[in-house]
Symmetry: C2
Subunit: 240 residues, 2 copies
DNA sequence: ATAATAGTGTCTCTAAGACATTATGCG
DNA sequence: CGCATAATGTCTTAGAGACACTATTAT
């Protein structure tokens, strides 16, 4: 019944990383402030299978590299960021034909980073990559290329089961911001209440009342102020 | 930079399953009722590495079997139970030398079952297996062979990183019983409030006040009664 | 009667939902 | 000034913690 170690055919192991950051959507109205959005990094595949479709950054795990390290290496390659918050999401491998090339299981990670740390042009390979805005509304995952018009994620061609992974990632983050401090990983050191609140509201798809009261124990006020717009300026806060 | 599919050495993939059930601890006092405990199934290794130590039921994933199915097969082999609650816990694979035989990553599952469904002697192989009582007290994982004297888990010889997996499993269950209905999976269809409460209290290592109030929306009363002991009998409930 | 547990009631405290009110700076 | 947003205050409700009190059976 029990076969020995070497009797088992080995399996291809991959990691895929949902890399998220927050950024402000462009506005040219000097009265309105720029709303914050959540962005995920996708890369366009340039080979079969799913040639031309969008996919999560990822790749196969080398037999001499730990699984989380493999994911970190991929993030470093795509964004230049070395130290960042990362957590394991889930391992996908129930379907034998997830990947038409052969049996592949994939360990998905969630990586959160502050956009100020992102390096441009660090990727030594030539694959096209793009940040897409994402949000959850009525339990549905929406995406946008400009932060204004949001569409159902099904309208975007996404390779493998990566749509599911992305969905699972946002669902996890949605829950986790409520009982951990992960949300701060998405922002620079200094931020306004509104910027932080926008992240929570995007994930939950609804306005959060009395957000200040909810978050106040986790932040501390600074003397600095976010100025420039035609309305009352906001104090800047940092994580406590 | 990007190597092709076949350029990667494949990796051994295993699953390990934390199989839990609840059972009552023997008492011969006709006045006291039998307290409920949590039990985990461990198997004694009969080969290197870690020969003679206890380990979680598990094994390598066949290239033609889905990862969850592999875990389900293992549970069926050890307990005879085919339909049961199971969820993926975490994938262990950061350390390259988790297994001295070679690079192995392991996907851990949590399986919950009602002891009434367990078949005896279903295991066709000859490995010795044993149910150990477990509980969390002051954040520490304790085990017992008789449900009475509990000891630090470090006093038990456990193979690989399976102690960590077991710890992670109980931590997950501890949190999950609070916001899901998974606890019912550990009990027969009919149970008393005290049996259910015992499970919650074992996991949290403290008494839970007003447990009825907390759980009442999830259960429904039956006309049946748990009799036999020298004190007020308890109504039996079922999951709503 | 009494040991031992089942089951109910109540008081307090904290956190969240919903929203009204006041403050501030630029165009 | 008034638009747009920041920041504070308040009323209500839901739930958890802690514990007192009453009910019921076999010995």
């Amino acid at each position: 019944m029990t076969k020995s170690f070497d009797a088992y055919e080995k399996i291809s192991v991959a990691t895929d990383v949902v890399i998220l950051t927050s950024d402000e959507v462009e506005t040219n109205n000097p009265r309105m402030s720029a709303p914050k959005g959540l962005k995920v990094l996708l890369v366009k595949r340039d080979e079969e299978p799913f040639n031309g479709e969008w996919s999560l950054p990822g790749g196969f795990v080398d037999v001499n590299v730990g699984i989380e390290q493999a994911a970190r290496n991929k993030v470093a390659q795509k964004t230049g960021v070395e130290n960042l918050y990362m957590e394991q999401l889930y391992t996908y491998g129930n379907e034998l034909d997830r990947d038409p090339r052969g049996r592949v299981i994939s360990i998905a990670y969630l990586a959160l980073l502050n956009k100020e740390n992102i390096q441009q042009n660090t990727d030594s390979n030539t694959k096209e990559s793009q940040w897409f805005w994402v949000m959850i509304k009525n339990g549905q995952l929406l995406y946008s290329t400009d932060g204004k018009g949001y569409y159902l994620i099904d309208n975007l061609k996404i390779a493998f089961d990566h749509k599911q992974i992305l969905q699972d990632a946002l669902e996890r983050l949605k829950n986790k911001v409520l009982y951990t401090d992960v949300a701060f990983q998405l922002l620079p050191e200094l931020f306004t209440m509104r910027e932080l609140q926008d992240i929570f509201e995007l994930l939950h798809g609804k306005t959060i009342y009395s957000f200040r009261r909810f978050i106040e124990s986790k932040v501390e006020e600074t003397e600095l102020i976010s100025d420039g717009k035609a309305h009352r300026p906001a104090k800047l806060y940092r994580r406590r």
